[in-house]
């Protein structure tokens, strides 16, 4: 299928008088790594939550994996993975128990669970941590594990909300290796980040300012468009116009 992974037209979210997401439109291709950038409070998490079906859009249209966000909620759920901005594994369960739980919730059979679980643990090099409580692992490991668990059911699209926040550069690099490996398998990556070096790893990026999408293109084209030498400069040029203060 050459279908678009995400199609979004005029998507808007209001909280009372406040417009958190203001009429955003964009498409994401299947297999693409799409960076969703923006300063604190720009509306990234809110937009992502609408696409995942955690929150109703106030207006606009969106389709995820070809399914309508208003009407085909259940079908969307079967096709996406999600890693929220808050840590999303159970700290008081072991690595293995977390894998079994999330795999089980997504309906994996025992055999699939074992295969996938072993593969995932080898890939992460966590053979010695299998029986450890997730709460006792360093943050970088937790995040890598959370990502692998979020794609354990091989979704078409995975939504990652600041997956590398607070993680050291070496681990971030490893994290992006995992993202590339997933993208190679055809999983569409929709990722928010505050790190501009990570923005460079994306196929295309959008930059949100005060709820709007003010720029959307490949990193190279954006630099050219803003006559900038780095993504940092592009980001600052756009962020300067922001009125919303970070919260």
């Amino acid at each position: 299928m050459n279908e678009r992974a995400i199609v979004c037209k005029g998507l808007t979210k209001r909280f009372g008088d406040f417009i958190a997401v203001n009429n955003i439109s964009f498409d994401v291709d299947q297999g693409e790594i799409f960076g969703f950038l923006g300063a604190n409070g720009a509306g990234k998490t809110t937009a992502m939550r609408m696409l995942c079906g955690l929150s109703y859009p106030t207006s606009g249209e969106a389709a995820v994996a070809g399914y309508n966000v208003f009407k085909q909620q259940e079908a969307i759920k079967r096709n996406i993975g999600y890693m929220s901005q808050k840590f999303s594994l159970y700290e008081s369960l072991t690595v293995k128990e977390n894998i079994r739980f999330y795999g089980g919730v997504y309906g994996l059979s025992d055999r699939q669970l074992k295969e996938k679980g072993d593969e995932l643990i080898t890939q992460l090099g966590m053979e010695n941590e299998v029986k450890k409580m997730v709460g006792s692992l360093p943050l970088g490991w937790k995040q890598k594990l959370a990502f692998s668990v979020a794609i354990i059911h091989q979704p078409r699209i995975v939504f990652l909300d600041e997956p590398t926040g607070g993680v050291d550069p070496v681990t971030r690099r490893q994290f992006w290796d995992l993202i590339y490996a997933a993208a190679e398998k055809g999983i569409t990556i929709f990722v928010t980040t505050h790190y501009m070096d990570e923005a460079e790893y994306c196929n295309r990026i959008s930059i949100m300012v005060d709820g709007r999408i003010d720029a959307l293109d490949t990193p190279a084209n954006l630099k050219q468009q803003f006559r900038a030498t780095s993504m940092d400069e592009v980001f600052y040029a756009l962020a300067r116009s922001a009125k919303r203060s970070a919260d």
Binding site: L54, Y82, V105, Y106, G107
Partner: protein, 368 residues
């Protein structure tokens, strides 16, 4: 179904790894029952009793001297006519009257049995029960000393009569009340806190994004706590029967089923609390304080409902524990069957359906 079991197993992991949960789950009921048990078995010393000796023979004198020798009793007056007994109790100092009928010694030696009447003031049921137990024990001892070798059937027959409170309301009623209270608090606290914790931690979002149906999330949360609360019920029941010597006169399976119904009612209430609170502290506060007060006030085990103003009586109908309390009392203490308690059971079942429906409906499948 398999997804469901995966969820239930995860929930058990949480319970057994969280000290606070374990404390509420097992510490609370044991503590409550032990506290109460301790209050029940406080020793009584030098209680004032009156002995009406109509026999005035050797046997009666021996028995009286044994009672006098015991540290529990102070004998007030040895001669009393039947019509003076009531007056003695009224004054309030006398806790117990022992009547030794005429011909006591003769009956004991030559007849098959001798009677001994024990009348206790049961407006203080704990004391009354303890005193009659002591007196019965003294009489049994005495008779065994008379016939040390013979394996005779009990010859002195103590006839106990509880004045003012023949059903021994009080201690007996307290246990079903404590059962209702403990189950209510445990079920509401644990379910509401465990759901709100997932909201706080952010794992709830992941569950809602998964294909696992929100209704199942709610039910999968309830099932483990149903099992655990039933375990609690068994613990409470064992402690009540073996430690507090509570009778179970009615059918045990019936009691179990009714308790299961009540537990489900409480779990539904806990689910409801979880959808109206957003922090663990708040959920804990609402479940503990918010449920404790109405349960204590409106169940009837501390403040009799009959004596309440009508508006409060009407309110008490809304409190689930009130109905459970009536059921437990009927089954445990009076040995009544389903024919008598079906109305109460129906009320509880109705409440459960309403609460469960509301809590599943209000469970937010989309947050904000």
């Amino acid at each position: 179904m398999k997804q469901f079991m995966v969820f239930v197993r995860k929930e058990f992991h949480h319970v057994f790894r969280d000290r606070r949960t374990l404390l509420i789950l097992f510490g609370l009921p044991i503590m409550q029952i032990l506290l109460f048990g301790y209050a029940l078995t406080t020793e009584i010393k030098n209680a004032q009793i009156v002995i009406a000796d109509h026999a005035k023979d050797a046997a009666s004198e021996q028995l009286i001297s044994r009672i006098a020798a015991s540290k529990y009793f102070t004998i007030n007056s040895v001669a009393l006519a039947d019509n003076e007994i009531e007056a003695a109790f009224r004054k309030g100092k006398v806790k117990c009257v022992v009547v030794i009928p005429a011909g006591f010694g003769n009956d004991l030696l030559h007849g098959n049995s001798a009677q001994l009447q024990i009348i206790a003031d049961a407006s203080d049921p704990n004391t009354a029960k303890t005193l009659t137990n002591y007196l019965t024990a003294i009489a049994t001892d005495y008779q065994q000393d008379l016939y040390p070798t013979a394996n005779v059937p009990l010859r002195i027959e103590p006839l106990t009569r509880m004045l003012y409170n023949p059903e021994m309301n009080g201690s007996m009623n307290f246990v079903p009340g404590v059962m209702a209270l403990v189950l209510m608090i445990i079920c509401t606290t644990l379910t509401s806190v465990s759901i709100v914790r997932e909201k706080e931690m952010g794992t709830m979002e992941i569950l809602l994004v998964s294909p696992f149906k929100p209704t199942y999330v709610v039910l999968a949360k309830a099932v483990p706590y149903l099992v655990l609360a039933l375990t609690d019920f068994v613990i409470i029941l064992l402690l009540s029967v073996f430690l507090l010597e509570m009778p179970v006169r009615g059918s045990l399976p019936l009691l179990f089923l009714e308790s299961m119904l009540f537990i489900i009612t409480c779990l539904s209430l806990g689910l409801l609390i979880s959808s109206v609170t957003s922090s663990q502290q708040m959920a804990m506060l609402v479940s503990m304080m918010g449920m404790m007060l109405p349960t204590i006030l409106f169940t009837g085990f501390i403040f009799p409902l009959e004596n309440m103003p009508v508006p409060l009586q009407v309110i008490s109908n809304l409190v689930p524990s009130r109905w459970y309390y009536m059921i437990v009392k009927a089954v445990m203490l009076k040995g009544l069957g389903p024919g008598v308690i079906w109305k109460e059971s129906l009320v509880l079942a109705g409440m459960t359906v309403v609460l469960l429906t509301i809590s599943i409906k209000t469970f937010k499948t989309r947050l904000a």
